[in-house]
Amino acid sequence: MTDPLVRVEGLQLRRGSFELNVPTWEVTPGEVVGVVGPNGAGKTTLLEAIAGLLPLDQGSVRVFGLDPRAEPVAVRQRLGLVAIATPVFDVRIGELIRIVSGYYPTWDGALAAELADTFGLDLRKRASKISTGQGMRLRLLLALAFRPQLLLLDEPTTGLDLVGRRQLMDAIGRAVESGESAVVLSSHRLGDVERLSERLLVIEEGSVVRHGGTDELVGDDRTLEEAMTSWAAP
């Protein structure tokens, strides 16, 4: 049995009046897991908890078998997070890539150059001076170029056009093709989530309401969007 890359047990996390509860949940190597739910359901909170950005009130999160808050260096060397709401360092893109590359022993300079070229990033521009779509591509580049074992994507299609979304799909596919890495994808673009994810975690108002295989949950005769609509119906 393969060790899970992420193991959540009895997670309880309060932020003001909001409370997220995830009983038991795992992410294993080689899979893409979709996290879906309405606005404010707790998707971003869950991803940030996995990344070790938020302290838990109860329960545990283990990433690569480690506590991401107690051992951030070991976890972050193998974990990539992409979220448009989180800023990047505001320097020229070329300089940013050069600086960041020094922090990861696994940094793949050739892959970074290839992604910069594919994404059409102007290395002379400052990170704060690029469009939302280009900002998302930059975040993807920074998260992919060190070949992370776990990739957390929070609304990764924000600002991306059709070409950008196709590039994102390709990137996700390449990230898991070795079978050693996994992707956790949170998005409101349910078509993309359904197409990419083998498993789903459905959250509403901070609680897990469904989880399991995408085919099993959605079925053959409807889309994820239709399934979500039917689940939300009283």
Binding site: A51, L53, P72, V73, A74, V75, R76, Q77, L79, G80, L81, V82, A83, A85, T86, P87, V88, F89, D90, V91, E95, R98, I99, V100, S101, G102, Y103, Y104, P105, T106, W107, G109, R139, L142, A143
Partner: protein
């Protein structure tokens, strides 16, 4: 692999160098403290100089570029990519290092001023130095941490109005800290001017 290790070492060296230069910049107001505590300048002028130095440091911090030193570092936990560094430890070490360095520079400046002033080494009283420099230096060092905090907030996704409010608050707090430091220094130094029979600069 060798290339990656070399790159890592190179980047670490550059960052260390830049942080050191930023620390020296941070320590510069303390040089002013050290030198001015030997002078007979009025407290107001002293406070102005301290405030100016602190505000200049805040301006450097507001540039918000990681390569420009510690004061321009937003909190690494809230900026992408999530760099594999231990943020809290770095902040603590940085703050502690800044304080120790600042204190060291202040003591050296005080002694150099005393030397130029014609003090004999025998008249140096370390207790005097600790008593008169620790409190103001600590307060100044605390004030100098604020720009870093402000830069961190500036980089986060708060509204423009919020950013300006935080920067204004940080600037006011920095000036306040410098003011308190100068007042503390001036008051505690009041009795000590008699010790410094010669004034700075030497007549």
């Amino acid at each position: 692999m060798i290339g990656a290790v070399g790159r890592h070492a190179g980047v670490t060296a550059i960052w260390t160098l830049r942080r050191t230069s930023a620390l020296l910049l941070a320590a510069s107001p303390i040089v002013v403290v050290g030198v001015m505590s030997q002078s007979e300048l009025p407290g107001a002028a002293f406070a102005c100089l301290c405030s100016l130095a602190a505000v200049l440091t805040a301006a450097v911090g507001s540039l918000n570029e990681p390569a420009r030193g510690i004061f321009s570092q937003p909190s690494l936990t809230r900026v992408l990519p999530l760099l594999p560094v231990r943020d809290d430890a770095r902040d603590t070490v940085t703050a502690l290092t800044a304080w120790i360095l600042s204190l060291g520079v202040a003591v050296v400046a005080w002694q150099v001023a005393a030397l130029v002033d014609g003090f004999a080494p025998a008249s140096w009283e370390w207790g005097w130095g600790v008593q008169h420099l620790t409190v103001p230096t600590l307060l100044l060092a605390a004030g100098l941490q604020l720009p870093g905090w402000a830069a961190g907030v500036r980089a986060s996704s708060v509204s423009s109005a919020g950013r300006y409010a935080v920067l204004l608050l940080a600037a006011a707090a920095t000036i306040g800290c410098a003011g308190i430091a100068s007042t503390a220094c001036t008051r505690t130094s009041a009795g000590s001017f008699a010790l410094a029979s010669a004034s700075w600069p030497p007549r």
